[in-house]
Assembly symmetry: C2
Homo-oligomer: 393 residues x 2
């Protein structure tokens, strides 16, 4: 085995995440490691909590990053809020709703599935019907921003319906946080999880979460212990809780948290509303370009996430060939389809730091070049013009 | 809230971990992020697996880092190898054996505790007796290197006894890997977990694990699904498994893995045996100095870990005052006692990159200065002389 270091290629990351990490965040992660119980580190943890409250638009005291990727953040919500024997309504409109179902089953609970077409938002009426048919349901779970399709659901309405039936809510905001409005308090969300590697422009590995007081009251009065020791909020709260006296739980990923801190500083510098507007602007430009190229979106316009653009692969064009050329010839990563959409769609991300004019134009130019070369019926230049039209309107 | 970046102080980390991270590793973590399904990234994953096999001294195919800290690595071993209703023998001689017990209970299984004094190695005879008294036990779990006390147990003997009774073994090697011999294949360990932030000199956040074929056979034929989706080896294997075709499971912590890769390159450059000898050398120097200062070790000499030195706090000396002065005046972190040993001992780490002559002499000089200032009966200079004697012998 050679002893050579790993020098990664410099890619442009326009898949479903990770997205391009800002150089300031990369640099922050390389600062000297300090102890996870160091008073200076604990100050930084408090600062991260406050900044995450801003990102989630919440006053929830229990707002912090789980020391593991988004799928562990998902699991932290389920293992804490679901008890064996519970009934949980899971709205599924893509891959990640299916993962929620898996989580419910592994908690020893019963999932009641509310199915919507992949590529569509969750239908509130179906949730209403399911709650009427299942008055014993305790929790409602849904994905705000389906990373597998780019569909955005109306989290505010879904949470209101759940609350009318006295259910706690678990919301997947992995792809939405920082890219499109997420308003935990206004919408009355009880448990929410996200990821650092999407619209926060950070490296993957952490999962910001937030829990309402209602959720915490449930956790502290459960009948069964939380099945995960690592994710048991009763213990995690002692470490991430108030004040300087922290109970050791696990060793926090110190340098990854430096990165998240810097990402949150940058979010505050830009301002949440400005970040949302930026994602909308560049989405409009990319959309205009892709449509001018003849590509059609999977998701109807009013249910579409600006930061994740799923488009149908043209007839006769081979998915892997195109993505391979983009990666090898252009160092450009776009995403493949997942699950039922594998080989049928591309997922083009415009997330966080990767959401900028250079990337929009570069992606359109590269895609135009590859598709033309593969003899797809592309009229040259129209995509770039259409995109530029959105910037100059 | 201010928008200032977090500039950590530059500490010398001689607690129970994290230890000083080498500048090469800090730099590696700041390299450009690439996609977690990028072919170049998958090559690096394969390389990490091979290098971890070397670190663990194993041919186990399922050797990889869990994408979360050591406590999640521990949980990955228990949730996969333990089923509801199982009986698990847990040898406890410190804090982390207690955490193993918690894991067993949360898996719906019954722990049978084999208790040893804190600060002593696990007694193989007690394990033998427990196995005779519990012929239905399926798993034996113990801590190879108790981070709470610095005691090292005879993993080879304990595993042999467990195998004679047809039990699978789960071994905590968080503090031992890279600092003292860990021989997974020779010792017949079935499941082992470690951390990156100890003797591998890496930032905290990942947990290297290894599973024997016997363990994997069990996992794939379980009666109940693994209760954790995130840690289910049946799924993790699809992502970290053989070949270029990886099934998406979770988004790997890309930059943290760059750091681990570099740490493993450095381990290979030095050579495992040399790393073990280095830890032994500097331990001998530190020990000579601490004893010359009148401090006594918690653990008997032949059961002592070189990389974690627990010493009794002298009568009349206040724990927090000393650690506070070391941190504030010297930027030196040493560890407090945990659990039953809180306020009674200090834990001085000599792990990985932090295990060097400069740190030994600096720590002794700083401790001598603070203790003298607090009127402890310290003869000046003897500690330094005693330590230097070990280097010049």
């Amino acid at each position: 085995m050679s002893n050579s270091p790993f020098n990664p290629p410099v890619r442009t990351l326009m898949g479903p995440g990770p997205s391009d990490v800002h150089p300031r965040i990369l640099e922050a992660m390389s600062r000297p490691t300090i102890g996870h119980l160091d008073p200076k580190f604990i100050e930084m943890m408090d600062d991260i909590k406050t900044r995450l409250q801003y990102a989630f638009q919440t006053k929830n005291a229990m707002t912090m990053p789980i020391s593991a990727p988004g799928s562990a953040g998902m699991e932290s919500c389920f293992v804490n809020l679901v008890e064996p024997g519970d009934k949980v309504i899971v709205c599924q409109n893509g891959v990640f709703g299916g993962r929620m179902k898996e989580n419910v089953i592994r908690c020893g609970a019963t999932p009641v599935m509310v199915e919507d077409e992949w590529g569509r938002a969750v239908d509130p009426d179906k949730l209403r019907d399911a709650l009427k048919a299942n008055p014993d349901a305790r929790v409602v779970a849904f994905v705000h921003a389906e990373t597998s399709t780019g569909a955005q659901s109306d989290a505010e309405t879904l949470c209101r319906i759940a609350r009318e039936h006295d259910c706690l809510t678990i919301v997947d905001a992995v792809t939405s946080l920082g890219g499109t409005p997420v308003k935990v308090d206004d919408w009355g969300i009880d448990a929410i999880y996200s990821g650092t590697q999407k619209c926060l422009s950070c490296a993957p590995g952490l999962s910001p979460v937030s829990f309402s007081q209602r959720a915490l009251d449930f956790v502290s009065s459960r009948n069964h212990p939380v099945q995960s020791w690592f994710l048991d909020l009763n213990l995690v709260m002692g470490y991430w809780g108030e004040g300087a006296k922290r109970a050791y739980h696990h060793t926090a990923p110190v340098n990854a948290l430096y990165g998240l801190h810097e990402a949150l500083v940058m979010l505050q510098e830009e301002g949440l509303e400005n970040a949302w507007a930026r994602h909308r602007l560049h989405h409009n430009a990319l959309k205009a370009g892709l449509e001018a190229m003849g590509l059609s979106f999977v998701v109807p316009e009013d249910e579409r996430l600006p930061q994740l653009n799923a488009v149908t692969i043209p007839e006769g064009v081979d998915d892997a060939t195109v993505r391979g050329r983009l990666l090898n010839d252009f160092n450009l990563e776009i995403g493949a389809g997942l699950g039922a959409l594998a080989s049928k769609v591309w997922r083009i991300g415009l997330m966080g730091n990767a959401c900028n004019r250079r990337n929009v134009l570069f992606c359109l130019a590269a895609l135009e070049s590859v598709l033309s070369d593969l003899k797809a019926p592309i009229e040259r230049g129209v995509a770039i013009d259409a995109a530029m039209g959105q910037y100059t309107d």
